[in-house]
Protein backbone atom coordinates (compact mmCIF):
# COMPACT_ATOMS: atom_id res chain seq x y z
CA UNK A 1 0.00 0.00 0.00
CA UNK A 2 1.20 3.46 -0.79
CA UNK A 3 1.84 5.80 2.11
CA UNK A 4 -0.50 8.47 0.69
CA UNK A 5 -3.25 5.85 0.73
CA UNK A 6 -2.49 5.01 4.34
CA UNK A 7 -2.79 8.72 5.23
CA UNK A 8 -6.21 8.90 3.63
CA UNK A 9 -7.41 5.84 5.51
CA UNK A 10 -6.06 7.26 8.78
CA UNK A 11 -7.79 10.63 8.23
CA UNK A 12 -11.05 8.84 7.38
CA UNK A 13 -10.83 6.75 10.54
CA UNK A 14 -10.26 9.82 12.71
CA UNK A 15 -13.19 11.60 11.11
CA UNK A 16 -15.44 8.61 11.65
CA UNK A 17 -15.00 9.04 15.40
CA UNK A 18 -14.75 12.80 15.49
CA UNK A 19 -15.61 13.41 19.13
CA UNK A 20 -13.39 10.60 20.35
CA UNK A 21 -10.52 11.83 18.19
CA UNK A 22 -10.87 15.36 19.54
CA UNK A 23 -11.02 14.21 23.17
CA UNK A 24 -7.98 12.01 22.64
CA UNK A 25 -6.13 14.89 21.04
CA UNK A 26 -7.03 17.13 23.95
CA UNK A 27 -4.57 15.33 26.20
CA UNK A 28 -1.77 16.03 23.73
CA UNK A 29 -3.01 19.59 23.10
CA UNK A 30 -2.86 20.42 26.79
CA UNK A 31 0.52 18.76 27.23
CA UNK A 32 2.14 20.55 24.29
CA UNK A 33 0.50 23.87 25.21
CA UNK A 34 1.86 23.55 28.74
CA UNK A 35 5.37 22.82 27.49
CA UNK A 36 5.32 25.71 25.01
CA UNK A 37 3.85 28.23 27.46
CA UNK A 38 6.04 27.30 30.42
CA UNK A 39 9.23 27.23 28.37
CA UNK A 40 8.22 30.61 26.93
CA UNK A 41 7.79 32.03 30.42
CA UNK A 42 11.13 30.60 31.53
CA UNK A 43 12.88 31.96 28.45
CA UNK A 44 11.19 35.34 28.73
CA UNK A 45 12.14 35.72 32.37
CA UNK A 46 15.71 34.82 31.60
CA UNK A 47 15.92 37.28 28.72
CA UNK A 48 14.38 40.04 30.83
CA UNK A 49 16.80 39.55 33.69
CA UNK A 50 19.75 39.39 31.34
CA UNK A 51 18.75 42.61 29.64
CA UNK A 52 18.21 44.26 33.02
CA UNK A 53 21.64 43.25 34.26
CA UNK A 54 23.22 44.37 31.01
CA UNK A 55 21.13 47.56 31.11
CA UNK A 56 22.87 48.60 34.30
CA UNK A 57 25.94 49.49 32.23
CA UNK A 58 28.92 47.60 30.96
CA UNK A 59 32.05 46.30 32.72
CA UNK A 60 30.51 46.84 36.13
CA UNK A 61 32.12 45.52 39.28
CA UNK A 62 29.93 45.37 42.37
CA UNK A 63 31.70 45.37 45.73
CA UNK A 64 29.81 44.15 48.78
CA UNK A 65 30.84 43.14 52.28
CA UNK A 66 30.89 39.44 53.10
CA UNK A 67 31.50 36.37 50.99
CA UNK A 68 29.27 35.64 48.02
CA UNK A 69 28.61 31.99 48.23
CA UNK A 70 25.63 29.73 48.70
CA UNK A 71 24.37 29.71 52.27
CA UNK A 72 26.48 32.67 53.42
CA UNK A 73 24.54 35.12 55.57
CA UNK A 74 24.38 38.74 54.47
CA UNK A 75 26.99 40.83 56.22
CA UNK A 76 26.21 44.27 57.61
CA UNK A 77 28.17 46.97 55.88
CA UNK A 78 30.98 48.66 57.76
CA UNK A 79 32.16 50.72 54.80
CA UNK A 80 32.27 54.51 54.99
CA UNK A 81 33.11 57.34 52.62
CA UNK A 82 36.75 57.05 53.76
CA UNK A 83 36.80 53.58 52.25
CA UNK A 84 35.46 55.05 49.03
CA UNK A 85 38.42 57.45 48.93
CA UNK A 86 40.75 54.46 49.35
CA UNK A 87 38.99 52.58 46.55
CA UNK A 88 39.09 55.66 44.34
CA UNK A 89 42.87 55.78 44.80
CA UNK A 90 43.09 52.13 43.67
CA UNK A 91 40.86 52.78 40.67
CA UNK A 92 42.58 56.08 39.92
CA UNK A 93 39.46 57.74 38.58
CA UNK A 94 36.67 59.07 40.80
CA UNK A 95 34.20 59.15 37.90
CA UNK A 96 34.30 55.33 37.75
CA UNK A 97 33.25 54.81 41.37
CA UNK A 98 29.66 54.90 42.61
CA UNK A 99 28.34 54.30 46.11
CA UNK A 100 24.91 54.07 47.70
CA UNK A 101 23.21 54.34 50.99
CA UNK A 102 19.55 53.56 50.56
CA UNK A 103 16.45 54.01 52.67
CA UNK A 104 12.68 53.97 52.06
CA UNK A 105 11.32 57.45 52.79
CA UNK A 106 8.10 59.37 52.37
CA UNK A 107 8.54 62.23 49.96
CA UNK A 108 6.10 65.15 50.04
CA UNK A 109 5.39 68.11 47.82
CA UNK A 110 2.60 70.32 49.12
CA UNK A 111 -0.34 68.05 49.88
CA UNK A 112 0.91 65.19 47.71
CA UNK A 113 3.17 62.42 48.91
CA UNK A 114 4.92 59.38 47.54
CA UNK A 115 6.82 56.53 49.14
CA UNK A 116 10.18 56.41 47.46
CA UNK A 117 13.51 54.68 47.70
CA UNK A 118 15.95 57.42 48.69
CA UNK A 119 19.38 56.72 47.27
CA UNK A 120 22.27 58.65 48.72
CA UNK A 121 24.84 58.61 45.92
CA UNK A 122 27.87 60.37 44.46
CA UNK A 123 27.63 62.73 41.50
CA UNK A 124 29.25 59.91 39.46
CA UNK A 125 26.16 57.69 39.40
CA UNK A 126 24.96 58.62 35.87
CA UNK A 127 28.39 57.88 34.41
CA UNK A 128 28.84 54.55 36.20
CA UNK A 129 25.32 53.22 35.59
CA UNK A 130 23.04 53.92 32.67
CA UNK A 131 20.74 56.65 34.01
CA UNK A 132 19.47 59.30 31.62
CA UNK A 133 17.90 62.53 32.79
CA UNK A 134 14.57 63.63 31.43
CA UNK A 135 14.73 67.21 32.71
CA UNK A 136 17.06 69.45 34.69
CA UNK A 137 20.50 68.36 35.84
CA UNK A 138 22.13 65.87 38.16
CA UNK A 139 23.94 67.16 41.24
CA UNK A 140 27.63 68.07 41.20
CA UNK A 141 30.73 67.13 43.14
CA UNK A 142 30.43 70.30 45.15
CA UNK A 143 26.80 69.45 45.99
CA UNK A 144 28.13 66.15 47.37
CA UNK A 145 31.03 67.64 49.30
CA UNK A 146 28.84 70.33 50.88
CA UNK A 147 25.94 67.98 51.54
CA UNK A 148 23.52 70.24 49.73
CA UNK A 149 19.88 69.18 49.93
CA UNK A 150 19.08 68.69 46.28
CA UNK A 151 17.24 65.77 44.73
CA UNK A 152 16.72 64.07 41.35
CA UNK A 153 13.36 62.31 41.06
CA UNK A 154 12.49 59.04 39.40
CA UNK A 155 9.76 59.43 36.79
CA UNK A 156 7.06 57.78 38.92
CA UNK A 157 7.84 59.95 41.93
CA UNK A 158 7.85 63.08 39.79
CA UNK A 159 4.48 62.19 38.31
CA UNK A 160 2.92 61.40 41.68
CA UNK A 161 4.15 64.61 43.30
CA UNK A 162 3.81 67.06 40.45
CA UNK A 163 1.59 65.52 37.78
CA UNK A 164 2.26 67.33 34.54
CA UNK A 165 3.84 70.37 36.20
CA UNK A 166 7.58 70.97 35.89
CA UNK A 167 9.18 69.91 39.18
CA UNK A 168 12.55 71.58 38.54
CA UNK A 169 13.40 74.11 41.25
CA UNK A 170 10.47 73.12 43.47
CA UNK A 171 10.67 72.22 47.12
CA UNK A 172 9.98 68.72 48.46
CA UNK A 173 10.55 67.11 51.83
CA UNK A 174 12.22 63.76 52.32
CA UNK A 175 11.64 62.27 55.75
CA UNK A 176 10.52 65.74 56.81
CA UNK A 177 13.69 67.52 55.59
CA UNK A 178 13.45 70.08 52.79
CA UNK A 179 15.16 69.37 49.46
CA UNK A 180 15.09 71.20 46.13
CA UNK A 181 14.45 69.28 42.91
CA UNK A 182 17.19 69.72 40.29
CA UNK A 183 16.22 67.06 37.79
CA UNK A 184 14.09 64.06 36.85
CA UNK A 185 15.05 60.70 35.34
CA UNK A 186 13.74 59.14 32.18
CA UNK A 187 11.40 56.17 32.89
CA UNK A 188 13.45 52.99 33.33
CA UNK A 189 10.94 50.45 34.59
CA UNK A 190 11.68 47.43 36.72
CA UNK A 191 15.15 46.10 37.12
CA UNK A 192 15.75 42.83 38.97
CA UNK A 193 12.52 43.28 40.85
CA UNK A 194 13.25 46.88 41.87
CA UNK A 195 11.12 49.72 40.56
CA UNK A 196 13.79 52.13 39.36
CA UNK A 197 11.25 54.87 38.69
CA UNK A 198 10.36 55.34 42.35
CA UNK A 199 13.92 56.23 43.30
CA UNK A 200 14.97 59.65 44.52
CA UNK A 201 18.68 60.42 44.26
CA UNK A 202 20.28 62.85 46.73
CA UNK A 203 23.95 63.58 47.56
CA UNK A 204 25.22 60.79 49.81
CA UNK A 205 26.41 63.32 52.40
CA UNK A 206 22.90 64.75 52.72
CA UNK A 207 21.43 61.24 52.94
CA UNK A 208 23.86 60.20 55.66
CA UNK A 209 23.03 63.30 57.68
CA UNK A 210 19.30 62.60 57.26
CA UNK A 211 19.75 58.97 58.33
CA UNK A 212 22.22 59.79 61.11
CA UNK A 213 24.84 57.36 59.80
CA UNK A 214 28.20 57.37 58.07
CA UNK A 215 27.86 53.89 56.53
CA UNK A 216 27.51 53.13 52.87
CA UNK A 217 25.59 50.08 51.61
CA UNK A 218 27.29 49.27 48.39
CA UNK A 219 30.00 50.25 46.00
CA UNK A 220 30.16 49.86 42.24
CA UNK A 221 33.06 50.43 39.89
CA UNK A 222 33.01 50.73 36.15
CA UNK A 223 36.17 49.04 34.90
CA UNK A 224 37.96 50.64 31.95
CA UNK A 225 37.85 47.37 30.03
CA UNK A 226 36.79 43.77 30.35
CA UNK A 227 40.32 42.35 30.57
CA UNK A 228 41.35 44.19 33.71
CA UNK A 229 38.08 43.77 35.57
CA UNK A 230 39.23 40.75 37.57
CA UNK A 231 42.53 42.27 38.64
CA UNK A 232 40.80 45.51 39.56
CA UNK A 233 38.30 43.61 41.71
CA UNK A 234 41.13 41.85 43.55
CA UNK A 235 42.95 45.14 44.15
CA UNK A 236 39.82 46.86 45.47
CA UNK A 237 38.99 43.95 47.78
CA UNK A 238 42.59 43.92 49.06
CA UNK A 239 42.44 47.66 49.81
CA UNK A 240 39.18 47.23 51.72
CA UNK A 241 40.36 44.20 53.68
CA UNK A 242 43.46 46.16 54.73
CA UNK A 243 41.18 48.81 56.23
CA UNK A 244 38.74 46.27 57.73
CA UNK A 245 40.81 43.25 58.78
CA UNK A 246 37.79 41.54 60.36
CA UNK A 247 35.53 41.73 57.33
CA UNK A 248 35.48 39.85 54.04
CA UNK A 249 34.63 41.67 50.84
CA UNK A 250 33.57 40.33 47.49
CA UNK A 251 33.72 41.83 44.02
CA UNK A 252 31.38 40.38 41.42
CA UNK A 253 31.03 41.18 37.75
CA UNK A 254 27.85 41.30 35.68
CA UNK A 255 28.96 38.15 33.91
CA UNK A 256 29.14 36.33 37.22
CA UNK A 257 25.70 37.55 38.25
CA UNK A 258 24.29 36.61 34.85
CA UNK A 259 25.94 33.21 35.02
CA UNK A 260 24.42 32.42 38.41
CA UNK A 261 20.99 33.76 37.47
CA UNK A 262 21.14 31.98 34.12
CA UNK A 263 21.93 28.67 35.79
CA UNK A 264 19.08 29.06 38.26
CA UNK A 265 16.58 30.05 35.56
CA UNK A 266 17.79 27.31 33.24
CA UNK A 267 17.11 24.71 35.93
CA UNK A 268 13.76 26.32 36.68
CA UNK A 269 12.75 26.27 33.01
CA UNK A 270 13.84 22.65 32.75
CA UNK A 271 11.77 21.68 35.78
CA UNK A 272 8.72 23.50 34.40
CA UNK A 273 9.15 21.79 31.02
CA UNK A 274 9.54 18.41 32.69
CA UNK A 275 6.33 18.88 34.69
CA UNK A 276 4.51 19.90 31.51
CA UNK A 277 6.14 16.93 29.78
CA UNK A 278 4.45 14.61 32.25
CA UNK A 279 1.05 15.81 31.09
CA UNK A 280 2.18 15.19 27.51
CA UNK A 281 3.11 11.66 28.55
CA UNK A 282 -0.33 11.16 30.07
CA UNK A 283 -1.81 12.40 26.78
CA UNK A 284 0.28 9.79 24.99
CA UNK A 285 -1.06 7.03 27.22
CA UNK A 286 -4.55 8.24 26.30
CA UNK A 287 -3.68 7.93 22.62
CA UNK A 288 -2.37 4.42 23.16
CA UNK A 289 -5.51 3.45 25.03
CA UNK A 290 -7.89 4.78 22.40
CA UNK A 291 -5.89 3.16 19.61
CA UNK A 292 -6.23 -0.22 21.34
CA UNK A 293 -9.98 0.36 21.54
CA UNK A 294 -9.98 1.29 17.87
CA UNK A 295 -8.11 -1.88 16.90
CA UNK A 296 -10.62 -3.98 18.81
CA UNK A 297 -13.60 -2.18 17.29
CA UNK A 298 -12.27 -2.56 13.79
CA UNK A 299 -11.15 -6.16 14.06
CA UNK A 300 -13.62 -7.19 11.34
CA UNK A 301 -12.38 -4.43 9.06
CA UNK A 302 -8.79 -5.54 9.66
CA UNK A 303 -9.77 -9.12 8.82
CA UNK A 304 -11.42 -8.03 5.57
CA UNK A 305 -8.47 -5.85 4.58
CA UNK A 306 -6.15 -8.78 5.20
CA UNK A 307 -8.38 -11.14 3.23
CA UNK A 308 -8.19 -8.88 0.18
CA UNK A 309 -4.42 -8.58 0.42
CA UNK A 310 -3.32 -6.20 3.19
CA UNK A 311 -0.01 -7.35 4.64
CA UNK A 312 0.64 -7.10 8.40
CA UNK A 313 2.86 -4.12 7.60
CA UNK A 314 0.08 -2.31 5.71
CA UNK A 315 -2.29 -2.64 8.66
CA UNK A 316 0.41 -1.67 11.17
CA UNK A 317 1.39 1.43 9.21
CA UNK A 318 -2.25 2.45 8.92
CA UNK A 319 -2.79 2.37 12.69
CA UNK A 320 0.58 3.95 13.44
CA UNK A 321 -0.22 6.83 11.09
CA UNK A 322 -3.54 7.24 12.82
CA UNK A 323 -1.81 7.61 16.18
CA UNK A 324 0.83 9.98 14.76
CA UNK A 325 -1.88 12.02 13.08
CA UNK A 326 -3.74 12.31 16.39
CA UNK A 327 -0.68 13.52 18.26
CA UNK A 328 0.70 15.82 15.56
CA UNK A 329 -2.64 17.53 15.01
CA UNK A 330 -2.88 17.75 18.80
CA UNK A 331 0.69 19.07 18.81
CA UNK A 332 -0.06 21.83 16.31
CA UNK A 333 -3.22 22.85 18.18
CA UNK A 334 -1.25 22.70 21.43
CA UNK A 335 1.42 24.97 19.99
CA UNK A 336 -1.26 27.46 18.99
CA UNK A 337 -2.79 27.32 22.46
CA UNK A 338 0.63 27.54 24.12
CA UNK A 339 1.67 30.55 22.01
CA UNK A 340 -1.64 32.26 22.76
CA UNK A 341 -1.27 31.58 26.48
CA UNK A 342 2.32 32.86 26.44
CA UNK A 343 1.34 36.05 24.60
CA UNK A 344 -1.56 36.66 27.01
CA UNK A 345 0.69 36.16 30.02
CA UNK A 346 3.29 38.48 28.50
CA UNK A 347 0.70 41.13 27.71
CA UNK A 348 -1.61 40.93 30.71
CA UNK A 349 0.71 40.02 33.59
CA UNK A 350 4.09 41.27 34.77
CA UNK A 351 5.56 37.85 33.91
CA UNK A 352 7.47 38.05 30.62
CA UNK A 353 7.20 35.25 28.05
CA UNK A 354 9.22 34.69 24.90
CA UNK A 355 8.20 31.96 22.42
CA UNK A 356 11.26 30.53 20.72
CA UNK A 357 11.47 28.51 17.52
CA UNK A 358 13.47 25.76 19.11
CA UNK A 359 10.79 25.26 21.77
CA UNK A 360 8.10 24.97 19.08
CA UNK A 361 10.18 22.58 17.00
CA UNK A 362 10.86 20.51 20.10
CA UNK A 363 7.17 20.43 21.07
CA UNK A 364 6.17 19.33 17.55
CA UNK A 365 8.90 16.70 17.41
CA UNK A 366 7.97 15.37 20.83
CA UNK A 367 4.28 15.13 19.97
CA UNK A 368 5.07 13.20 16.78
CA UNK A 369 7.41 10.96 18.77
CA UNK A 370 4.68 10.40 21.36
CA UNK A 371 2.40 9.23 18.55
CA UNK A 372 5.00 6.78 17.29
CA UNK A 373 5.93 5.50 20.75
CA UNK A 374 2.36 5.10 21.96
CA UNK A 375 1.05 3.95 18.58
CA UNK A 376 3.50 1.11 18.07
CA UNK A 377 1.88 -1.38 20.43
CA UNK A 378 -1.68 -0.98 19.08
CA UNK A 379 -0.34 -0.98 15.50
CA UNK A 380 1.60 -4.19 16.06
CA UNK A 381 -1.42 -5.78 17.63
CA UNK A 382 -3.54 -4.82 14.61
CA UNK A 383 -0.89 -6.00 12.14
CA UNK A 384 -0.54 -9.40 13.79
CA UNK A 385 -4.25 -10.16 14.00
CA UNK A 386 -5.01 -13.56 12.52
CA UNK A 387 -7.31 -12.88 9.54
CA UNK A 388 -9.36 -16.02 10.23
CA UNK A 389 -10.04 -14.91 13.80
CA UNK A 390 -10.59 -11.30 12.77
CA UNK A 391 -13.14 -12.19 10.09
CA UNK A 392 -15.07 -14.34 12.53
CA UNK A 393 -15.40 -11.47 15.02
CA UNK A 394 -18.84 -9.92 15.12
Amino acid sequence: MRISEAWRVAVDALRANRLRSILTMLGVVIGVAAVVALVAIGTGTKQQIESQVEGLGSNLLLVVPGRLEAGAAATASTMTLDDVDAVTRVVGDRSRVAVTVASGETVRAGSRSSFASMQGVLETTPTVFVRNLDRGRYFTRSDVSTGRRVAVLGSAVARQLFGDRDPIGRQITIGGVRFRVTGTFEPLGQSLGVDRDSEVHVPITAAQRLLGTDRIDGLAIRAPDRERIGALGDAVVAALVERHPDTDFSAVTQEQILGVLGDILGVLTGVLAAIAGISLLVGGVGVSNIMLVSVRERTKEIGLRKAVGARPRDIGVQFLLEAVLLTTIGGVLGMGLGITAALLVDRLSPVPAAVTWWALALAFGVSAAVGIIFGVVPAQRAGRLDPVVALRTE
Partner: protein
Protein backbone atom coordinates in the same frame (compact mmCIF):
# COMPACT_ATOMS: atom_id res chain seq x y z
CA UNK B 1 -3.97 -21.23 -16.75
CA UNK B 2 -6.54 -23.79 -17.84
CA UNK B 3 -5.06 -27.22 -17.51
CA UNK B 4 -2.94 -26.71 -14.40
CA UNK B 5 -5.13 -26.92 -11.29
CA UNK B 6 -5.82 -23.73 -9.27
CA UNK B 7 -5.37 -25.39 -5.87
CA UNK B 8 -3.86 -28.72 -4.91
CA UNK B 9 -4.20 -29.90 -1.30
CA UNK B 10 -2.43 -33.11 -0.31
CA UNK B 11 -3.00 -34.71 3.10
CA UNK B 12 -3.75 -31.30 4.56
CA UNK B 13 -4.45 -31.30 8.31
CA UNK B 14 -5.14 -28.47 10.69
CA UNK B 15 -5.08 -28.71 14.46
CA UNK B 16 -5.63 -25.89 16.94
CA UNK B 17 -4.26 -25.52 20.42
CA UNK B 18 -7.07 -24.46 22.72
CA UNK B 19 -6.08 -24.05 26.38
CA UNK B 20 -3.34 -26.62 25.93
CA UNK B 21 -5.69 -29.14 24.34
CA UNK B 22 -5.09 -29.83 20.69
CA UNK B 23 -8.26 -29.95 18.59
CA UNK B 24 -8.16 -31.44 15.12
CA UNK B 25 -10.37 -29.44 12.78
CA UNK B 26 -9.17 -31.11 9.60
CA UNK B 27 -7.67 -34.58 9.16
CA UNK B 28 -5.50 -35.32 6.10
CA UNK B 29 -7.73 -33.88 3.39
CA UNK B 30 -6.68 -34.13 -0.23
CA UNK B 31 -8.46 -32.03 -2.80
CA UNK B 32 -7.78 -30.50 -6.19
CA UNK B 33 -9.59 -27.42 -7.45
CA UNK B 34 -9.34 -27.34 -11.21
CA UNK B 35 -8.92 -24.06 -13.06
CA UNK B 36 -12.52 -24.13 -14.34
CA UNK B 37 -14.03 -25.94 -11.38
CA UNK B 38 -17.48 -25.21 -9.90
CA UNK B 39 -17.26 -26.97 -6.59
CA UNK B 40 -19.53 -27.02 -3.56
CA UNK B 41 -18.22 -27.97 -0.13
CA UNK B 42 -21.11 -29.05 2.07
CA UNK B 43 -21.37 -30.20 5.65
CA UNK B 44 -22.84 -29.29 8.99
CA UNK B 45 -21.32 -26.66 11.17
CA UNK B 46 -18.21 -28.05 12.86
CA UNK B 47 -17.57 -30.43 9.99
CA UNK B 48 -14.37 -28.59 9.06
CA UNK B 49 -15.66 -26.95 5.90
CA UNK B 50 -14.85 -23.43 7.10
CA UNK B 51 -11.36 -24.51 8.13
CA UNK B 52 -10.88 -26.04 4.68
CA UNK B 53 -12.08 -22.85 3.02
CA UNK B 54 -9.66 -20.72 5.08
CA UNK B 55 -6.83 -22.99 3.96
CA UNK B 56 -7.90 -22.93 0.30
CA UNK B 57 -8.02 -19.12 0.54
CA UNK B 58 -4.51 -18.82 2.02
CA UNK B 59 -5.96 -17.17 5.11
CA UNK B 60 -4.50 -19.97 7.21
CA UNK B 61 -1.67 -22.49 6.97
CA UNK B 62 -2.00 -26.26 7.35
CA UNK B 63 -0.40 -27.95 10.35
CA UNK B 64 0.79 -30.73 8.05
CA UNK B 65 0.48 -31.77 4.43
CA UNK B 66 1.21 -29.68 1.36
CA UNK B 67 -0.98 -26.98 -0.11
CA UNK B 68 -0.29 -25.43 -3.49
CA UNK B 69 -2.24 -22.33 -4.42
CA UNK B 70 -1.58 -20.97 -7.88
CA UNK B 71 1.44 -23.28 -7.94
CA UNK B 72 2.94 -21.83 -4.73
CA UNK B 73 3.52 -23.85 -1.57
CA UNK B 74 1.64 -21.99 1.16
CA UNK B 75 3.60 -23.64 3.98
CA UNK B 76 6.75 -21.81 2.91
CA UNK B 77 5.19 -18.33 2.86
CA UNK B 78 5.24 -15.70 5.62
CA UNK B 79 2.06 -13.70 6.45
CA UNK B 80 3.08 -10.89 4.09
CA UNK B 81 3.64 -13.26 1.20
CA UNK B 82 0.36 -15.01 1.94
CA UNK B 83 -1.41 -11.63 1.79
CA UNK B 84 0.14 -11.03 -1.62
CA UNK B 85 -0.92 -14.50 -2.77
CA UNK B 86 -4.51 -13.86 -1.62
CA UNK B 87 -4.52 -10.53 -3.36
CA UNK B 88 -3.34 -12.00 -6.65
CA UNK B 89 -5.15 -15.34 -6.88
CA UNK B 90 -8.15 -15.47 -4.54
CA UNK B 91 -11.44 -13.60 -4.43
CA UNK B 92 -13.51 -13.90 -1.26
CA UNK B 93 -17.28 -13.62 -0.98
CA UNK B 94 -18.63 -13.78 2.56
CA UNK B 95 -22.05 -14.54 3.97
CA UNK B 96 -22.19 -11.15 5.71
CA UNK B 97 -20.68 -9.29 2.74
CA UNK B 98 -17.95 -7.59 4.84
CA UNK B 99 -18.18 -4.25 3.08
CA UNK B 100 -16.59 -1.16 4.68
CA UNK B 101 -19.61 0.73 6.03
CA UNK B 102 -18.44 4.30 5.48
CA UNK B 103 -17.09 3.64 2.02
CA UNK B 104 -18.88 3.86 -1.33
CA UNK B 105 -19.54 0.81 -3.47
CA UNK B 106 -16.87 1.92 -5.93
CA UNK B 107 -14.21 2.36 -3.24
CA UNK B 108 -15.19 -0.93 -1.62
CA UNK B 109 -14.65 -2.67 -4.93
CA UNK B 110 -11.34 -0.85 -5.43
CA UNK B 111 -9.99 -1.87 -1.98
CA UNK B 112 -7.95 -4.94 -3.08
CA UNK B 113 -6.21 -2.77 -5.70
CA UNK B 114 -5.07 -0.42 -2.92
CA UNK B 115 -2.92 -3.24 -1.57
CA UNK B 116 -1.61 -3.98 -5.02
CA UNK B 117 -0.30 -0.41 -5.34
CA UNK B 118 -2.54 0.45 -8.30
CA UNK B 119 -2.84 4.25 -8.75
CA UNK B 120 -6.09 5.80 -7.57
CA UNK B 121 -7.35 6.76 -11.02
CA UNK B 122 -6.85 3.31 -12.47
CA UNK B 123 -8.41 1.76 -9.36
CA UNK B 124 -11.55 3.80 -9.82
CA UNK B 125 -11.78 2.90 -13.49
CA UNK B 126 -11.36 -0.80 -12.85
CA UNK B 127 -13.83 -0.71 -9.94
CA UNK B 128 -16.39 1.09 -12.09
CA UNK B 129 -15.99 -1.51 -14.84
CA UNK B 130 -16.45 -4.31 -12.33
CA UNK B 131 -19.57 -2.70 -10.85
CA UNK B 132 -20.94 -2.51 -14.36
CA UNK B 133 -20.15 -6.20 -14.80
CA UNK B 134 -22.34 -7.07 -11.77
CA UNK B 135 -25.06 -4.66 -12.93
CA UNK B 136 -24.52 -2.00 -10.27
CA UNK B 137 -22.99 0.88 -12.21
CA UNK B 138 -25.79 3.13 -10.93
CA UNK B 139 -24.84 2.33 -7.30
CA UNK B 140 -21.16 3.33 -7.55
CA UNK B 141 -21.48 6.31 -5.20
CA UNK B 142 -23.75 4.60 -2.67
CA UNK B 143 -22.77 3.34 0.75
CA UNK B 144 -23.63 -0.23 1.84
CA UNK B 145 -26.48 0.93 4.10
CA UNK B 146 -28.15 2.53 1.06
CA UNK B 147 -28.25 -0.79 -0.77
CA UNK B 148 -30.24 -4.02 -0.49
CA UNK B 149 -28.63 -7.25 0.66
CA UNK B 150 -28.48 -8.58 -2.87
CA UNK B 151 -26.83 -5.41 -4.11
CA UNK B 152 -24.33 -5.54 -1.27
CA UNK B 153 -23.42 -9.10 -2.15
CA UNK B 154 -22.96 -8.14 -5.79
CA UNK B 155 -20.65 -5.31 -4.67
CA UNK B 156 -18.72 -7.90 -2.66
CA UNK B 157 -18.49 -10.13 -5.74
CA UNK B 158 -17.26 -7.20 -7.81
CA UNK B 159 -14.61 -6.61 -5.12
CA UNK B 160 -13.59 -10.28 -5.28
CA UNK B 161 -13.26 -10.07 -9.06
CA UNK B 162 -11.48 -6.74 -9.43
CA UNK B 163 -8.01 -8.24 -9.08
CA UNK B 164 -8.72 -10.90 -11.73
CA UNK B 165 -8.37 -13.89 -9.38
CA UNK B 166 -8.22 -17.49 -10.57
CA UNK B 167 -10.44 -18.75 -7.73
CA UNK B 168 -13.59 -17.31 -6.15
CA UNK B 169 -14.18 -18.63 -2.63
CA UNK B 170 -17.77 -18.04 -1.53
CA UNK B 171 -18.69 -18.82 2.06
CA UNK B 172 -22.48 -19.17 2.29
CA UNK B 173 -22.91 -16.40 -0.31
CA UNK B 174 -26.72 -16.71 -0.25
CA UNK B 175 -27.04 -17.26 3.50
CA UNK B 176 -28.22 -13.71 4.24
CA UNK B 177 -30.36 -13.30 1.11
CA UNK B 178 -33.94 -14.23 0.22
CA UNK B 179 -34.23 -17.04 -2.28
CA UNK B 180 -34.88 -14.94 -5.41
CA UNK B 181 -31.92 -12.69 -4.66
CA UNK B 182 -29.87 -15.74 -3.77
CA UNK B 183 -30.68 -17.27 -7.16
CA UNK B 184 -29.53 -14.10 -8.90
CA UNK B 185 -26.25 -14.10 -6.97
CA UNK B 186 -25.65 -17.74 -7.83
CA UNK B 187 -26.43 -17.04 -11.49
CA UNK B 188 -23.79 -14.30 -11.41
CA UNK B 189 -21.22 -16.67 -9.88
CA UNK B 190 -22.07 -19.28 -12.51
CA UNK B 191 -21.63 -16.85 -15.37
CA UNK B 192 -18.23 -15.92 -13.95
CA UNK B 193 -17.37 -19.62 -13.77
CA UNK B 194 -18.30 -20.02 -17.41
CA UNK B 195 -15.80 -17.25 -18.15
CA UNK B 196 -13.05 -19.36 -16.63
CA UNK B 197 -12.90 -18.49 -12.92
CA UNK B 198 -12.89 -21.46 -10.56
CA UNK B 199 -15.75 -21.12 -8.04
CA UNK B 200 -15.73 -22.87 -4.67
CA UNK B 201 -18.98 -22.60 -2.70
CA UNK B 202 -19.13 -23.43 0.99
CA UNK B 203 -22.73 -24.06 1.98
CA UNK B 204 -25.05 -26.21 4.01
CA UNK B 205 -27.92 -25.51 1.60
CA UNK B 206 -28.60 -28.66 -0.49
CA UNK B 207 -30.28 -26.72 -3.32
CA UNK B 208 -27.35 -24.34 -3.62
CA UNK B 209 -24.87 -27.20 -3.56
CA UNK B 210 -26.84 -29.08 -6.19
CA UNK B 211 -26.16 -26.39 -8.76
CA UNK B 212 -22.40 -26.96 -8.58
CA UNK B 213 -20.69 -29.29 -11.03
CA UNK B 214 -19.44 -31.40 -8.17
CA UNK B 215 -19.88 -31.62 -4.41
CA UNK B 216 -17.59 -32.51 -1.54
CA UNK B 217 -19.17 -33.49 1.73
CA UNK B 218 -17.29 -32.85 4.97
CA UNK B 219 -17.88 -34.61 8.27
CA UNK B 220 -15.67 -34.55 11.39
CA UNK B 221 -12.79 -32.97 9.52
CA UNK B 222 -12.77 -35.46 6.68
CA UNK B 223 -14.12 -35.72 3.17
CA UNK B 224 -16.82 -38.37 3.09
CA UNK B 225 -18.55 -39.88 0.06
CA UNK B 226 -21.45 -37.71 -1.06
Amino acid sequence: MTGSPAIVATDVARTYELDGVSVTALKAVSLTVEADDYLAIVGTSGSGKSTLMHLLGALDRPTSGTLLIGGRDVTTLDPGEMAKLRNETIGFVFQSFHLLARTTAQDNVALPLVYRGVPRRERRERAAAMLERVGLAHRAGHRPNQMTGGEQQRVAIARALVTGPSVLLADEPTGNLDSATGQAVLALLESLNSEGVAVVLVTHDKDVAARAHRQIRMRDGEIVPA
